[in-house]
Subunit: 191 residues, 3 copies
């Protein structure tokens, strides 16, 4: 049993096993989701957009990363009311006119009541010290929430980049780029 | 090669590598999400609330934990129709009157048709042996589904704790507490 | 220190530790979520169904697996407009008549405007080379997106298997089977 050659073989076997374990752990560590939240912001309603920003900024405040992918009805929320787009075709002009231009024109999904419900909710938010959408957007920018805007939606609705808000970390991209982030996130939501 | 000192060094090196691997695995194990489902119940519609409870109770039946975070339109669903709140301001009284008081008054998101669609759906659920919302809530309580209620929504809509349902595992909290759970969950949904 | 017995004991201890680590890593590897996306398709709106298919086919194009669980308003979208169901009771006939029969009859969640908005969106999608729902469904089938259909919803709405679309990988099942997939997925969404 005390034959030194046997021990050498055992040690060699252990070393190769440990090396194998190390590389396996490294691989597992690499595919482990990051401490990140990814959400699709599909809705364009005041209440849902508000919830999206509360969740996104809340997660960053907790030390997580946050990515918001604005698509479909969520896209017009990111238009800048002070900016004008260049030439648009008929459809683009129609969508442009019918959809809200930025956070100010966003409405409640329920109890809008010709705008009265939305106005009530906004005054209530002010009274109760809940940040407005505009403030939320500023906060998100400061906290480093990353915003992705769906290029297919922009194209469908005829929106141009020149009419979107100025935001530090904004990316115009497709669903693949979002899924890349979502795959690597601990939390994913569709709002 | 059979110098015993070399072998001792090799063994020592292996021991420290194994210790390092152990601590790395422990760290990975700690940050691994639990066998848990976390959902935001944002909607206040009969159909969506029903789906939320079917999913939550279903996951517990499968051996998972479940946490439901009721926020915005989901909050009034948890009011107790037999309870009365104390003094409220005008806004609080308006929200109180306009929003459904508990599971019984919840309506379909589509085909409500002045309440007829909702009544049809309810009678259909009874006929097909699908549990009603009231039964679902009882089942959830028995199964140990944890309910979180969003304090910001309660405050916005002027709801008071004294008018909410009695439920064994209910917590009034903010979004941060929910995100803490969601981060540690295998499944997260926004309903 | 150069006592060979001590070294043997140390080697034995290392061997058992390495074996223990191996089995722990294997267990962790088994419970690690797969490179898969699972979504609940609850909505029956053109815009949301479109988003669901864009995300599902996009994830498969990225090398992930995808599972779509159609429930509630999502269920009628999978009816085949050319097929007829056998005998139904009154409720079943009513639901059958009121809900869209397949992807062609699906409407926008907003700006439907008596069908005009939906028609506009469809013509726009064609012009901008965005695949129609019918094409999306075909693409999903080719890419191997798995479709689950909620049996409880089928039962509630009185739909029969014989009136649903032909699709290679379709399964009629309950929420438990979906949760099993979702638990094992890197991304989960409720649409």
């Amino acid at each position: 049993m005390s034959n030194p050659d046997i021990k050498i073989n055992e040690i060699k076997a252990l070393e190769s096993q440990v090396a194998e374990i190390r590389s396996k752990i490294e691989a597992m560590d690499k595919t482990k989701p990051s401490n990140k939240l990814s959400m699709v912001v599909f809705s364009g309603d005041l209440d849902k957009i508000l919830a999206a920003f509360v969740i996104a900024t809340g997660s960053v405040a907790m030390g997580m990363e946050a990515v918001m992918f604005f698509t479909f009805w969520g896209t017009p929320v990111l238009r800048d009311k002070k900016k004008k787009a260049g030439k648009k075709d008929v459809m683009g002009r129609m969508f442009g006119a019918m959809l809200p231009k930025g956070t100010c024109e966003v409405k409640l999904s329920k109890m809008n009541m010709g705008g009265m419900g939305t106005a009530m909710m906004k005054s209530l938010m002010k009274k109760k010290n809940v940040a407005s959408l505009e403030q939320m957007l500023e906060m998100a920018e400061e906290l480093g929430v990353r915003i992705f805007v769906c290029e297919m939606s922009m194209d469908l609705m005829g929106f141009k980049r020149e009419e979107m808000i100025d935001y530090k970390d904004i990316t115009f991209c497709g669903v693949a780029k979002f899924l890349e982030e979502a795959k690597d996130s601990r939390i994913q939501l569709f709002i």
